[in-house]
Symmetry: D2
Subunit: 354 residues, 4 copies
């Protein structure tokens, strides 16, 4: 209800503020008997963590997860998996300047209006630090979803777009560069661009594309909980996301039905895939693919004018250690949320026939 | 769970197939003491109903709603509002041709795969006829949300885009034409275009833009249930929707943070509104606006090849009476879903402070 | 949230007031491919309906259910089952006397306090008429639960208690008399007693015992959603219920652990069954049995003093046609709610292992 | 869904096994701006903790709670409150004897059947140790519910019952003795009795009565989520509970309506309170009171025969440090669950009127 849980059957609830004692969560409804690969979980956390390259924030957080329950002799028990990541690098003094003033396009102002006051340190609950808990839960969901491959990658940074359909790319190259773009040449250009943006003390947006392969037919519920509706909600719930499209997406509006319709092969697969692997809200066995648009991070290391709690205009400047472009670190988050959606629908799908 | 309910506190559950006896729903959690304007409800239904103009499907359905409960002496009682719309014009014979074969880019195939069999008449549960129930619930939600103005309009049909920000338009003109585009000149071009598409026996996609004004500060829950995440899910749950973006949307990815940030005025409003009225998932009092992309309707009145249940290739042809372009009739649906999201968060917001 | 839905996966939402146009509901999450026996559904409705014998209310309601959706060619489709029972015998004038005054131990007063006003006719939403919708849903749940036998019966009326464990009774005799007590001799005494109570214009309470046989091992979730906790909630949600106990129940508190523990047989069954078929909240394969206590119906056909809306004391008298003892008609309701609980946990149980 | 969360708006999710690294939980939906009294939280934990007197288990657990989030400068922030209690006294070796065999009337057998395997140490998730997390959440709920007084006490141990209505007792004496019975004389007898039971290596059941005063009119939702139905579920979800009754309870079945009806005073209060403060599922402003029946603890320190995983009969003996009677330590758990129910309905009640 209060918005800190995701999923119905495979359900994760997260807690934690950027500069509190710990962040973490509870995964309820994870089936028993999954043999966990803890290294794989940590690896996803490392792909998200700050300080991993020169183009991301230089904060240092080890982001080591401690599991408290729900696992016995290396396997899930079917009982809730409680976990925490302790915050070790809380430079709260970096945030004194925002205690009494509101950063533009941040959640500072609306939190104060909504709740009466806020934990202002590092953005508190509105910080993207919360997504580390999602990555933990998503990494476990991935292990449950054995056989399904979920691969996200950066397809655009600012104006620099790949301009290629995912089927033209070698996705195995995604992790070969710090931008997480599977086209090495474009990745190099993007990296240079992000560095120049960083030097300006500014930030830039980008797009992540995600592909899920080998998704069985039948996932997703008709009407309100369509597979792409839940994927859309999942993506839009990630910090800084402004848009979501799947399959033909916004470009599809320009097409005629006679072009856009995916004709069947005799095995039920389709010759084209404008549907993005989903028809009527239900997976059809073809690749699922979608784009997620991220705005430029709001924290810029430049002087700006804003208001304080009393509505006075004050001059201030972004401080702290922030990402010039959020998409490289958001790749594992997009994958994690995709895995959570697919895990939930996979379990739900076991209940629909006599 | 099975996906036929929407909302947490203000919650609607719908039922009904295209060619069953009736469609309808239950609205639970609607506050008591709302004096209902039944004409306004019917008016929204009429904006959605088939046969209302030459550019929409010529099926004739009166779409009259019967209320069974939850209303006494013209006012809501706080108990569930049960309602039904009887199906009166069920030309089931129109659909005999799809009983044993699967229409491309329709839900026919995945329903059979998921549930083992399906009510094939008129698409059954996957038909957009279900959205009439949403319009009923949304019309009641609108009456609860007195003061908030929700206005949706067609901003693009095929390649024909308005190319204007909503602030440059006179939205009061939206209902002055059958396309529901507030620019009369563009509306006329769109209408011509849809007619030509119809003549071809083809279909075309489009975009609906929606604006919500006077939304109080504080709606939306942080983390998973962000206001724009729920709006996105709501829109993506509408038949034929392929994408959602709010505020700066996909264009925002090309902007720098220093441009994109919405600077504050001293009263807490902002000088620009790239945020689309939502920061950190919470309404900030500025106009909320977003775009919804609709694909071309899958049913084309042209010959095509497809597969039957045994996987044999069969030649067939679209029949029945279908919309050449779905967006004119989808405008009230977009508004209804927006109202449902805002009603739910309005109630939720009463619970967050001591 | 507003309390008109029950179940998580197999979920029923009901609507309707005693004297409104119709009552009914939506069953969401019912699996597909269940071949429905409509006579069995009507039979359960008939066991609950008024006017069936001399010891129940003499109102005449045919209680015929109309199904609107979710069923095709006699089988469930997996989509929501909408249904309604139209109210045909609405003697609203019988209730004019309660429009402005509050009947003692009825919900009249608290409804006005909670919602600001109420549909006073026949108790409105607080009437036990609502339970007809539960019987419909429960009858469908029973058909899903093929193999599990759910049998409820009257075990006490006022002071007249069976004083026998269910294992000493021939439950096939339950429907052989109007009281629904499987001991014919005691049934006759109960019937006489209820008639005498009716003659006095008074009412009396009673106890229903319910037994569920052949329940597979493993139903119920640990911690908050224990099988007996959901059964208890289900029973306590029935009008006039004051208490619930399962297995050894309240008598069990007097026993020592060494007596109360159910020793195992080598096949996992137990020699005794003080546990009532549930250990740690999970079914263990033994018979589940529990008792449900019903208070005397509040409406007595006697003069009494009460208050009106302004707090004035007024003299009034019970009118209308009411049950002198609610338990004979409540037997199918207890069974229906039991079936709903078991159906929901049966589906949930499919999701808990890899 | 998987049963480890309780409440809709004020919602707690717990995690943790008896002998895992930590137990804990997440409280979501707790309103902001509650000034927390941490000593009061710890005091309730201390009332529940083992080792507090000679008549409870002699395990030593400090049960100190660490809060990770959702609290800033001593006040709740409206964001989720994550917390953990580390397990410090894990004598796992005490439980080696149950690794491969099933204790009678314990959850060992059904867990293995349901999940395929189990964390057998100390009963794992089925241990009442989990209730410490409930006490934390309930203690916070109590602080939100300022003004409402919730007082539970032991009213029966084995055959020793108080035989008095709560209104005849001085509840302020409850904490004056280790049994938590407000009648000092009876408390002494109960204490002696429990000691004798302990000496026998046996266990005994009991009853806890709970009273909630100053509950505002209007809490509880009609139909499925009646106030007493949620209270019943809450109580039945506590380990070892076998029954629940409120107001007149099981005794009420013997009364006539003319006796049982609570006649109104002119201010809306009632002359009697057989209703137990709840009419039609909604609080009426009178005291709420109910009884909760606890069976004797299953672990007896006596030799017994049971089965192992292969179904072989084996002789074994209860070990570890267990409670001879669970009710003294369960008093704060009953209060905690009551507080959680009332907090949730208090928030829900803010949403029901225009």
């Amino acid at each position: 209800m209060a918005g800190n849980s995701f999923g119905n059957i495979f359900r994760v609830s997260t807690f934690g503020e950027s500069h509190g004692r710990a962040i973490g969560g509870v995964i309820d409804g994870c089936p028993s008997e999954i043999e966990l690969d803890f290294e794989a979980i940590q690896k996803d956390l490392d792909r998200r963590k700050p300080g991993q390259s020169a183009i991301v924030t230089q904060r240092k957080e080890p982001d080591e997860v401690e599991f408290y329950s729900g696992i016995f002799e290396g396997k899930t028990t079917g009982t809730p998996i409680g976990f925490a990541i302790h915050n070790t690098n809380q430079k709260s003094k970096d945030y004194g300047h925002i205690k009494d003033s509101y950063r533009p396009s941040h959640a500072d102002y609306v939190y104060d209006q909504k709740y009466g006051f806020r934990d202002y340190r590092g953005g508190g609950r509105s910080s993207a630090r919360e997504t580390a808990s999602r990555v933990v839960a998503g990494a476990i969901a991935k292990q449950f979803l054995k056989g399904i491959e979920i691969q996200a990658f950066v397809s655009q940074v600012g104006d620099l777009g790949l301009g290629k359909h995912y089927t033209e790319l070698d996705l195995s190259l995604t992790e070969s560069n710090v931008v997480r773009c599977p086209d090495p040449e474009m990745a190099a250009r993007m990296e240079e661009y992000i560095k120049s943006i960083k030097k300006e003390g500014d930030t830039i947006g980008g797009i992540i594309t995600c592909v899920a392969k080998n998704v069985p037919i039948g996932l997703g519920e008709p009407v309100f909980d369509k597979l792409h509706a839940e994927l859309g909600k999942a993506m839009l719930s990630i910090n800084a996301v402004k848009g979501f499209e799947y399959g033909s997406g916004f470009e599809g509006v320009k097409m005629k039905g006679s072009e856009h319709n995916d004709q069947f092969n005799s095995d039920g697969s389709t010759k084209t895939n404008f549907s993005g692997g989903i028809q009527g809200g239900i997976s059809n066995g073809m690749d699922i693919y979608f784009n997620v648009a991220f705005k430029p991070v709001a924290t810029v290391i430049q002087g700006y004018e804003t208001i304080d709690k009393e509505g006075n205009m004050v001059k201030t400047q972004g401080k702290g250690r922030h990402d010039p472009c959020v998409v490289p670190r958001a790749v594992p988050i997009v994958e994690a949320m995709t895995a959570l959606v697919l895990a939930d629908f996979t379990l739900m799908n076991r209940t629909i026939k006599l």
